[in-house]
Subunit: 409 residues, 2 copies
Amino acid sequence: MKEFFKVMTLDAVLEFRDRFKIKTVEQVSLDQSHKRILAKPLVSDRDLPDFSRATMDGYAVRASSTFGASSGSPAWLTIVGSVAMGEKPTFDVGPGEAARIATGGMLPQGADSVVMIEITETVDKHTVEVYKSVAPGQFVIERGEDFEQGKTILMAGQEIRPQEAGLMAAFGVDSVTVYAKPRVGIISTGDEVVPVSEEPPPGHIRDINSYTLGGLVEGAGGIPRTYGIVKDNEKELYNRCEKALLENDMLLISGGSSVGVRDFTTAVLAALPDSEILVHGIAISPGKPTLLARVGEKAVWGLPGHVVSAMIVFDVVVKPFVHAIAGRKPFCGDRFTIPAVLTRNVPSGQGREDYVRVKLIEKDHDILAEPVLGKSGTINSMVLADGLIRIPMNTEGLEKGCRVKVRLM
Amino acid sequence: MKEFFKVMTLDAVLEFRDRFKIKTVEQVSLDQSHKRILAKPLVSDRDLPDFSRATMDGYAVRASSTFGASSGSPAWLTIVGSVAMGEKPTFDVGPGEAARIATGGMLPQGADSVVMIEITETVDKHTVEVYKSVAPGQFVIERGEDFEQGKTILMAGQEIRPQEAGLMAAFGVDSVTVYAKPRVGIISTGDEVVPVSEEPPPGHIRDINSYTLGGLVEGAGGIPRTYGIVKDNEKELYNRCEKALLENDMLLISGGSSVGVRDFTTAVLAALPDSEILVHGIAISPGKPTLLARVGEKAVWGLPGHVVSAMIVFDVVVKPFVHAIAGRKPFCGDRFTIPAVLTRNVPSGQGREDYVRVKLIEKDHDILAEPVLGKSGTINSMVLADGLIRIPMNTEGLEKGCRVKVRLM
């Protein structure tokens, strides 16, 4: 028996991420920054808010003026003015005094809290009754409570969610420095593969991988670009790789990684100028016959032709590399895995990590992970699946009832 | 004490989704369909695959020819041919025979399984030794195993993930009928609000909500369009609403929903032709003073001015309406909540649902949900948060250690 693959562990493969550089940066307007990756930290240039604000409609008071108030024995306060929105009050609030204020209004000097309008009754235009005592600071956001001046409030590598965009708006950042999205070329190979628009002759199948991989690249924050199908022709694959490498930051070749065709893809990659085969097989299932080469400064992947294997290898192995060149820090904004309870025994092989498709079922306060049965070539199994679980290397599998972590796909 | 809001439960509010129609449909090419919502079911027009395929490199055999084989006593099989990729084999495989085949190749007549190359040794060009028995069907995807002809394989309302795109590719669908994305107009109101590009004078703040709501609309599958800031001027708000309603399918007005300004927004909405105020307050916190009106066939929301309240109301209340007019079925592709363990007691008010921001911390096989403390006006609390937990109505809160479901934000 021959040894076909010098397999490497997944962790060892992931260390190669350091070999590939982060993309350059670009400026986008704040309203175009959704889900982009911040390339510069944001430091607060002021206190936020820079004045103490009411968070309720009511009366700005000194809390001590209300101490002991109840519905039986309300506090009577003298109304000394009304805070206009967006204006700095010209009067102070002393003991036994109150000023009308709306949500977002600036607290007058002397006031330390807001009595919500629901617990007051206006007696006449100069007097208000308060039925409950309030604590100092109640219904007020103090100056600097959100952020103090000079603090790093966002880090490079963070994904910009709506709240991060709002924070930048608060600091007046209307143009954001983000990392450029990595462009990822996709080539399908195989004599049996025909374009989606063609009717496959007997023994042929349509090109599925260009579409699944395209969607996965988009989901990982990259820009996919497809280069069609290359029949098993070494010269043509070389030329197509050369062109795609000129126009992209990473390249995915699917279908050329099983024995035979794989040697052929390896030969093409080895022939490209300044190239080095880094990985010749990974100890995962599905996905063992995966290739990784460095060509110049770019990563080129040989992925399995099976759609399911290719998708799982993308999710588990390739995506972290896309994130790396996208500048995305793994510690920020990552999706969490979902803890779930396995519904049946899942055996696994020795000497590799297994990735198993599961469907999630909500049940009371738990989520059940039901393995999706199906051979690795059926795309239906991916459509039925919500995510993947990992069976670590050197275990014989996982038992029904054990807790697993599910990564959504 | 006055009753300011005729509050409605969240469930009652969500029932109004039926009042608003799904958007029209449009055609997009398959490679532009990522995350769009399918508007027509997909029915299989053939078996998939439409021939039995090898899923390993090796030899196509009758499984019975290998029964009893071991390394000590291998089965000797006669090689009768080689399956060319993308071609229909012209020979059969009988008992004691084998044919070379690569992954994806079409199984010859008579063969029912594939012996993987790793458990074979070629003796000469006519003979191969097999060291292990294989089961019928091993390393083969049978015709129709993925999908049988005539089955509904995707439903209208499903989100198109990479696997659904791949499935459509397999069936030759290169142009997809999807629902048009809902266009959502966003207006900020308030005398104290200034554009992001301006330096706020004392007592003013920058317009944050246009950006947070814009990002949330995008995340919910809509197309946001901002209409700037309207000062507290009834005529101007009326005109801006009229324009935004012409150009959009839904409208969000933020900042005009606290008492006073709220009456003013209500007056404008009531004055628009064919309008009806449906909701005058919701029994949730934050977010109680939320307005919903129907103007013609469109939903118009009055959201709280506080950034955090507005974001939470969007996530909990508005997003389901965006999904409804986007044609997105709640049963498909929805994000799962993450089960987690609460790290401290969280009190809550009676007669309302409370939504509490939490940070998630992975710990062994569990995830901890740590409430983010902070007043509702601090956007920092949203930046620190990973998601929200819900405290049901008529409970006094949740206890440390209890299991909660976290919706990611």
